[in-house]
């Protein structure tokens, strides 16, 4: 039988044959013999498709969409006989210039497709762009022929996750990483054995959507250092991976390289979570560049003031109009694409509260986008994690519209644990809640709604948290005015690096204390890249602009910090080994299995006697209440500066307490392997000043 011919050319311009296309899906889609181009604009008068040979300044053809190719507000056409590998495309849109009415069309600009799956122009990290190029960020075609060999998202139970927050470039850019392609997806892939031995099972990547590291680049006025957009919280295109993060970006193969990384991570039992930035785009405010959205349909894509200026709830110049139905669909299409085409396991939404604002910026009680994401059939097994605040003053930790699905970065956990560790009194009621998975915040959602962290990319590293009282951001060239001032940190007696062995010993202990509380808390723990190696940023708590030693992981620390690294990997193994630490229900403070003791009980230095105004907190977890059944754990936390005797509760019948962790001891006696350490010989133990002891029986 002859093959059917449904698509045949009906028009021709300059030897290029084309026909009316299909309005859906948006974007550029390869169809038999051609490419279907489809783009939405509600206010344009006309639209022109501009086709380039790869990297050429001048297009080889421009085709205005004939009137009959527009259906509703969608322009679509199929162009035949294109060389897919060598093609770049963009659009010119013609329409009114009326900023007060929110319209800023400019036909002189060539615009990137909001649905571009591959974007050229920044193919190699830090390669100086050709600023004279009219079309800086150039849409290309992607190919869906990657061989996944049966891979799929891992669907690890949320309660079992141990997240590692990492920057793709910073993880291996340092020469000490010794990988073949430093600072890339391929480099990260070579370090999978390290992640595996550390014991994490989910890696959360700082933004990997295409962004421009040259955005707002500048030289430091004193040091002359080139400052870039290193973090990447400024999206150019939501569907395209960052080419400069791929060793093969210059070959246009970033899609394959990223998929290969994800496949290999999955093989190692490690999920991939993406930090996604839907709150704003890289176009900035009215002074910013035309990249895509502004020139396609400004009024639809952005929140605008009545005067036509940009609302700035993101702190980055503009705010994406997330609850406009068209933008909402774009976000949904985007996440479905990453989940289905890249096998991504979850998403962390930057400044997610913006996603719950209406088209005038007011918070919604029932935000359609958040609800749609929660119930989306394709995303139903994806982890959804909100950074539940924005730069416009909306703070929703504990009240983010969750629909039974969303988890939150628990900022309150971070702040409270930091204050407790630095020695603030009167924290015990608060800390009791945080350790239990924050039932006061998430009582109707369960402890897996609480993503627990003490440090993240934004703020001090763990070592800096115990080495600096204040931020030291001079290297950012903003006279130390940027970055947070409420760090809840304590320098242990000296600001910054010191040779004082007493101060350094205390810092080592404080880092172990923080880690112990984090990994013994109910909820989902997240570890910041390098904290397991005592990474420092020299007191800089806002490293967004540093592509260098300040923000990179120094792999020499693997040999220098063997004790701390061992502590972390054993601690993670301890969490994995003890189901009593990882429940997905809140404690009930009663005995509901007949073990003779409640699932959790709180104590002070004496059993059953807690001094709520003090700095000592102990708790006993009953393993018989866990699923599967587990050992009992007794945790004695002394944040007082002197050592104190703690009365130890009775061990389960026929068992003796063994020491699992004692942060006041030098390595390797600070933590034992799964078999446990020495037996406890009496019913009283001394817990050192600012130390934690964990017993297991």
């Amino acid at each position: 039988m002859d093959e059917r011919i449904d698509f045949y050319p009906t028009h021709e311009v300059g030897g290029i044959r084309f026909r009316r296309g299909r309005p859906l899906p948006f974007g550029a889609t390869i169809v038999p013999n051609g490419v279907n181009f489809s783009i939405f604009s509600s206010a344009a008068d006309s639209c022109t498709l501009v086709l380039f040979h790869k990297r050429e300044a001048e297009p080889f053809v421009e085709i205005e969409f004939p009137r009959e190719f527009r259906i509703g507000d969608v322009y679509s056409m199929i162009v035949f006989d294109l060389d897919y590998e060598n093609l770049e495309y963009g659009y010119r849109l013609s329409g009114p210039w009326n900023p007060e009415a929110g319209q800023r069309f400019d036909k002189a600009k060539i615009l990137c497709d909001p649905y571009a799956k591959v974007i050229g122009g920044r193919d190699v990290w830090r390669a100086k762009p050709d600023w004279s190029d009219l079309y800086q960020h150039r849409a290309r075609l992607s190919f869906d022929d990657f061989d996944w060999e049966g891979d799929r998202p891992l669907e690890i139970a949320t309660k079992d996750l141990i997240i590692y927050e990492a920057h793709v470039r910073g993880f291996t850019a340092h020469p000490s990483s010794k990988v073949s392609a430093p600072g890339t997806f391929a480099g990260l892939r070579e370090k999978i054995p390290y992640l595996k031995s550390l014991g994490i099972n989910c890696i959360e990547l700082l933004p990997i959507y295409e962004f421009d590291e040259w955005e707002n680049n500048r030289l430091h006025p004193e040091t002359g250092e080139l400052l870039l957009n290193y973090w990447g919280y400024s999206t150019l295109g939501f569907f395209a991976p960052k080419a400069g993060y791929a060793a093969t970006g210059s070959l246009g193969m970033q899609v394959d390289e990223l998929k290969n990384l994800i496949k290999e991570l999955h093989r190692a039992g490690i999920e991939v979570m993406l930090d996604v930035v839907f709150n704003h785009t890289a176009e900035g405010d009215q002074r910013g560049p035309y990249i895509s959205y502004r020139g396609i349909d400004n009024r639809t894509y952005y929140l605008l003031t009545p005067e036509g200026y940009y609302y700035n709830f993101s702190g980055c110049g503009n705010t994406l109009n997330c609850n406009h139905p068209v933008v909402r669909n774009m976000v949904l299409d985007c996440l479905r694409y990453w989940a289905s085409e890249y096998h991504v396991d979850g998403f962390r939404f930057d400044l997610a509260s913006i996603l719950g604002r209406d088209q005038n910026g007011a918070p919604l009680a029932n935000p359609p986008l958040l609800e749609s994401l929660a119930y989306d059939p394709v995303l139903s097994k994806c982890k959804l994690v909100a950074e539940a605040w924005d730069a416009g003053g909306l703070y929703q930790v504990g009240s983010f519209p969750a629909y039974g699905r969303w988890a939150e970065w628990n900022g309150r956990y971070r702040d409270s644990i930091r204050r407790f560790i630095k020695g603030d009194a009167g924290m015990l009621g608060e800390i009791g809640n945080r350790i239990q998975g924050s039932p006061d915040l998430y009582w109707y959602r369960g402890p897996t709604a609480s993503l627990n962290f003490i440090t993240c990319h934004d703020g001090f590293t763990l070592r800096d948290m115990v080495s600096y009282n204040g931020k030291h951001n001079e290297a950012n060239g903003e006279r130390n005015n940027d970055g947070a001032n409420d760090n809840n940190s304590w320098n242990c007696g000296w600001e910054g690096e010191t040779d004082d062995p007493g101060v350094n010993a205390l810092r080592s202990r404080q880092m172990r204390n923080a880690a112990t509380i984090l990994f013994l808390s109910r909820g989902v723990p997240m570890l910041l890249m390098g904290d397991e190696l005592g990474r420092t940023q020299g007191g800089n708590n806002n490293g967004y602009c540093h592509d260098g030693a300040l923000s990179w992981l120094d792999w020499n620390d693997v040999k220098r910090e063997t004790g701390l690294l061992r502590f972390f990997s054993n601690l993670l193994a301890f969490r994995r080994a003890h189901s009593v630490l990882r429940g997905d229900r809140f404690f009930e403070h009663r005995d509901y299995v007949g073990s003779g003791k409640p699932d959790i009980s709180f104590h002070g230095t004496r059993v059953g006697q807690l001094d709520w105004g003090g700095r000592c907190l102990a708790f006993l977890l009953c393993g018989k209440h866990a699923t599967p059944q587990d050992d009992d754990l007794y945790v004695a936390i002394n944040m007082f500066w002197d050592g104190l005797p703690f009365q130890v509760p009775q061990a389960p019948e026929g068992k003796r307490w063994r020491v699992a962790i004692n942060t006041s001891m030098p390595s390797p006696e600070d933590i034992y392997d799964s078999k446990g350490g020495p037996q406890v010989g009496s019913d009283e133990i001394i817990v050192g000043g600012r130390s934690i002891v964990v017993l297991v029986a």
Binding site: K54, E85, D145, D147, F185, A186, M253, E257, N260
Partner: protein, 107 residues
């Protein structure tokens, strides 16, 4: 630099020798050759690539095309240069081909 393509089909083995650079402009010619030799339904495709100095995305995609066109086809790359092997590793194509120093026996 241009791409030189020599091909031969022997029993169930198709051989293609490549010399030069395989990039976006030279890939269509290779694709045509692959398409033609696969017409004989070979079970293995042997690519002599010792003299191939560069292979771009378009070239790698032809390997996928060959596998998609003929499921079960074994693809051998004989003596690829280190740069080519490196790209294969980074992009995950390495798992789908046999990289060898010796010409495989006839199928």
């Amino acid at each position: 630099m241009a791409l030189d393509i020599q091909s031969a089909v022997d029993a169930k083995t198709a051989r293609i020798a490549l010399a030069g650079e395989l990039d976006g402009s030279s890939a269509p010619a290779l694709r045509e050759t692959v398409d033609r030799v696969l017409g004989g339904k070979p079970t293995q495709l042997v690519l002599q690539v010792e003299k191939l100095s560069f292979m771009a995305s378009a070239g790698l995609r032809i390997l996928i095309f060959a596998k998609q066109k003929q499921p079960g086809l074994k693809i051998y790359l004989v003596k690829p240069q280190p740069g080519v092997v490196d790209t294969l590793h980074k992009t995950g194509f390495y798992d789908g081909v046999y990289v060898t120093d010796d010409e495989p026996a006839l199928a």
